[in-house]
């Protein structure tokens, strides 16, 4: 099956500032992918590269098998909602639906109108007068009505109140179920993504840290606590992600495919948030120590 996103040593540089470095990533179809990382980590850069708003400085990226924005047809296969959901403030909701229909041959106007109706939006209201949540829903409607194979959303729920956030995700998941969409959505908060993502990509400091199916990642990562022990003395099949020590106790976050048999350790499961925090911590240390780039494990 063609990967929805295939990046090979992808880099983007602005003068001296490196927005993304050597990102190699292959995302399989049929998932809701969460792209997580702190602000400025390169999430928006990666997504803009994926939809053709940016050109790579080096490396390659392919989306649904072709270069992003290569042809109008390729543009039609990918739906995109940019950060802060830009709209045409002076144009009405109905104008936006026309916009979708006139600029996309595959646009399903009936579905879009039906959805606007369901949302209770006034078609004649100017987009500039909509609330943040309503604008987000409008933008999502436009993107989904295009009937894409892949939907890319850049921080779609940031700044939305909890109810608007819930409604947005409900609509998104319903559409994923109905149309068998693949989705890539980014956020700097793991909590936004926990319910909906089954594939995780972690970007910190413009580098890829981790990528894989959530289930597998949660199963292979553990928090070990026990008597004080040096991180370097851990067995080789247990990769230490993060370690913290007190005088007598060590808490070590490891990745291991095989079970932990050492009775000295208390083994705990980890949450998605713990996972992301650990890799973010490791990346911050790595920048300080300038270790060689970590190959993300898939």
């Amino acid at each position: 099956m063609t990967a929805v996103l295939d990046a090979e040593e992808l880099s983007k540089q602005y003068g001296r500032r490196r927005a993304l470095q050597d990102c190699t990533l292959s995302i399989p179809p049929g998932h809701v992918v969460g792209l997580v990382g702190p602000n400025g980590a390169g999430k928006t850069t990666l997504l803009h590269l994926a939809v053709g708003l940016l050109q790579p400085t080096s490396g390659t990226i392919e989306v649904l098998g072709s270069r992003p924005a290569e042809t109008p047809a390729q543009l039609g296969r990918v739906g995109f909602v940019a950060q802060e959901t830009p709209t045409y403030a002076a144009l009405s909701v109905a104008d936006h639906l026309n916009f979708g229909a006139w600029l996309n041959p595959s646009f399903d106007a009936t579905m879009a109108e039906h959805r606007i109706d369901e949302l209770g939006l006034d078609p004649h209201q100017k987009a500039g007068h909509l609330s943040g949540g309503q604008r987000a829903q409008l933008a999502l409607t436009l993107a989904i009505a295009k009937r894409p194979e892949l939907l890319i959303l850049d921080e779609p729920v940031a700044g939305l109140d909890p109810l608007a956030r819930r409604e947005f995700l409900q609509y998104l998941m319903e559409s994923v179920a109905e149309h068998e969409l693949s989705v890539i959505l980014s956020s700097h908060l793991v909590a936004d993504l926990e319910r909906v993502c089954d594939y995780l990509v972690v970007l910190v400091a413009s580098r890829l840290q981790l990528a894989g199916e959530v289930e597998g990642l949660l199963a292979s990562h553990h928090r070990l606590s026990g008597p004080r022990r040096d991180a370097d003395s851990m067995p080789s099949d247990q990769e230490v992600i993060e370690a913290s020590h007190t005088e007598r106790q060590s808490t070590i976050f490891v990745r291991s495919e095989s079970p932990i048999l050492d009775p000295a350790w208390t083994v705990e499961e980890v949450s998605l948030e713990d996972l992301v925090l650990a890799y973010m911590g490791r990346a911050t240390d790595a920048r300080g120590a300038r270790r060689s780039s970590m190959r993300p494990v898939q």
Partner: protein
């Protein structure tokens, strides 16, 4: 409007139990209490995710596990239906047992126990009864 499904799911994001297991448990729970009977249709994947805002694969996985356990069967294009219940003759005993429990709760509250103490007492008793049962 919802195609005849009888139950609704809810998600406790703080319980530490993974979402798909929660769905499985809730179906089993409903089966056990007789809220779901043979032939009833489970909510469609689309309905569940539209309400809970969770990944459709989660629901699919839960339904698949229930199918594996022989409790439900998927009919392509139509939906997922209950094939076997978990409630049995014990269902008849539920009503008087429920009344007894309610009376016990009333007594505990009148004795001055707060919710946490009631739950702790109940769990402790339940566990020790289990152990005795095993032994």
């Amino acid at each position: 409007m919802n195609g005849g499904s009888v139950i609704e799911f809810h998600l406790d994001s703080r319980s530490g139990v993974s979402p798909y297991l929660q769905v499985v448990h809730q179906v089993r729970h409903a089966l056990r209490l007789g809220l779901l009977r043979e032939g009833d249709q489970l909510p469609t994947v689309k309905e569940v995710v539209a309400r809970l805002a969770i990944n459709p694969n989660t629901v699919l996985k839960a339904y698949k596990e229930l199918e594996h356990a022989g409790l439900v069967a998927a009919r392509p294009g139509i939906g997922t239906f209950v094939t076997r219940t978990l409630s049995d003759s014990t269902l008849a005993a539920h009503r008087p047992l429920r009344q007894q429990l309610q009376r016990w709760f009333g007594n505990a509250r009148r004795a001055g126990l707060d919710d946490e103490s009631i739950e702790a007492l109940f769990r402790d008793c339940f566990r020790s009864t289990l152990d005795e049962g095993v032994a």
